[in-house]
Amino acid sequence: MNQYQLIKLAKRVGFYALIAVVMVYAIFPFYYAVITSLKPSSELFRVDFWLSTVDFGNYVQIFTQKSFVRAILNSIIVSLSVVFIALLLGITASYALGRVRFRGRATVMLVILGVSMFPQVAVLSGLFEVIRGLGLYNNPAGLILSYTIFTLPFTVWVLTTFMKQLPMELEEAAIMDGATPWVTITKVFLPLMWPAMATTGLLAFIAAWNEFLFALTFTLTDDQRTVPVAIALISGGSQHELPWGPIMAASVTVTVPLVILVMIFQKRIVSGLTAGAVKG
């Protein structure tokens, strides 16, 4: 009896210890970035596990830099436009794919799935030519265009899954009343699709906000860059003297909004990810 209780206790302790390890592993790198960013530069190279003094010098330094503020603005503009375009094209396409049976539907679905698995490098030279041809090189608009390659297939795929789950009766009633497909989408489906659109929009936003390869390749000057590129290219006097304080401050700045979004919409994001992968 006593031994049994002991084993049970040991199991409980082991379980919570494991949980604690997972928590520390997940959170510590971000925590460490936050405390590094809040240190005065004189203490930067001393390893600390918590803060003794709080100093906003690094944040002041990055926010007085015009190019960084500009990069944040570019990132916001690009990400929001990408979400808007992906949802606009996605909702109409998902209606067609989810509610109408027609010849060639399976082919279109396969094409979408195939595009979502494209390696970005494979289209880099062709896309570079297209973007330069359209006069969008070194312009955030070029990024908005190129980001549809990974946001659009995903958005269409997930929205189609959601669209299929809506009851048929709604649409039948609309057809009986003589509603055109466009009216059916905007008046019947759109109000019901808001949760799904919020989820996919959020995921598209995160993907666009984080994108690096295209942003690095299709922009040239500091004032056209997005945040990931701006952070990656922050450099000091030499390769071995990176200004870690400002880099961490910039990193925390662009991550905090995302972490807050993820915390608030945790459930939605999980359902969106699993709808895109498990059901997809």
């Binding site: 379980f15 997940a26 094209l89 067609a96 494979a122 030279s125 896309l127 990656a232 880099i247 498990v278």
Partner: protein, 324 residues
């Protein structure tokens, strides 16, 4: 004729539409469907289809970045050419084959680790305990952090002189002198894998967790009544049941890993000991301005990934349900 993809929505398969097949309403619906698909198809053709064809074409030319228009057709010379008693071209370049090997090594090792740790985390999150939501939220944090930022954060923690990881390892006594994690040829690949694993465990864990939560409870009750050891239950019951979800997670991760670029670019730049196919191709394309040669590398990368996709589609037809 195709049927919708999900098992969870059998309702959408029903046949009321058959009632007005061939009627004016039905024709109007099909026409509207194509009209609605058109913008998306045009967009995909512009950013995916056409650029991909151009990349294929460039790989057979001597195009340079500053002037792609005047590219001349040179056959397969970018891939392989016999000149003056020796073979040249991408297929003979040891740096290319090194980057192919690096990519495969990185993909296999990091995806394996992610799957093992992802399952462990998912099993933990599937247990009932206080503060479970809080832990799940915490586990999501690495996923939410942009790859560039996580690479920079780890670069700082792995810094050879001032990094906390060397500090800790030396304090515990595992190492005597600091390790140059991102600069040394021996450790840099492990540093990259470590960062990638940290960042993507949440994704695998969430997919596995979703599968775990759909498992029938009665098997477990039966196993418990029969007094079967939980480890045995895991391997005999849980693992086979979550295998489909696991396969999906693995293929998604594998496709991502095969085209990995940003984490490696930020952590170790163009160092050959961690150079992957994407890094190699981009270096040729952008830094050396050799669009022809770089496109040849991109094309091979595309073919390797396409092969993986075809195998996946073949193995996973039932899961996907699109080509029934």
């Amino acid at each position: 004729m195709s049927t919708p993809a999900t098992q969870s929505a059998p309702r959408a398969v029903r046949s009321p539409q058959a009632g007005y097949r061939g009627t004016k309403v039905r024709r109007q619906r099909v026409r509207a469907a194509w009209l609605f698909l058109l913008p998306m198809l045009v967009a995909l053709a512009l950013v995916a289809g056409w650029p991909l064809l151009r990349t294929f074409y460039f790989s057979f030319t001597d195009a340079s970045l500053s002037d792609t228009a005047s590219a001349a057709f040179i056959g397969v010379e970018n891939y392989l050419v016999y000149d003056d008693g020796a073979w040249y071209g991408l297929l003979t370049d040891p740096v290319w084959w090194n980057s192919v090997w690096n990519t495969l090594y990185f993909s296999v090792v990091s995806v394996s680790l992610e799957v093992v740790f992802g399952i462990i985390v998912a099993l933990l999150l599937n247990a009932e305990f206080k503060g479970r939501m809080l832990v799940r939220a915490a586990v999501l944090i690495p996923w939410a952090i942009p790859t560039i930022v996580s690479a920079k954060m780890w670069a700082w923690m792995l810094n050879d002189q001032f990094g906390i990881i060397n500090h800790l390892l030396m304090a515990i006594g595992i190492i005597d002198s600091p390790i140059a994690w991102t600069a040394s040829a021996t450790y840099s690949m492990w540093a990259v894998i470590m960062v990638d694993v940290w960042k993507t465990i949440p994704f695998v864990a969430l997919l596995v967790l979703a599968a775990l939560q759909m498992l029938p409870k009665d098997c477990y009750e039966a196993a418990e009544v029969d007094g079967i050891h939980p480890v045995r239950v895991f391997f005999k019951v849980t693992l086979p049941l979550i295998t489909p979800a696991l396969l999906v997670a693995v293929i998604f991760r594998l496709l991502d890993a095969l085209r990995v670029f940003d984490v490696i670019y930020v952590l170790t730049s163009n160092s050959t000991s961690t150079m992957t196919m994407s890094i190699y191709a981009r270096q040729q394309l952008v830094e050396f301005q050799d669009v022809g040669y770089g496109s040849a590398a991109s094309t091979l990368l595309f073919l390797i990934i396409a092969l993986a996709v075809v195998i996946y589609l073949y193995l996973g037809r039932r899961q996907l349900g699109v080509d029934q």
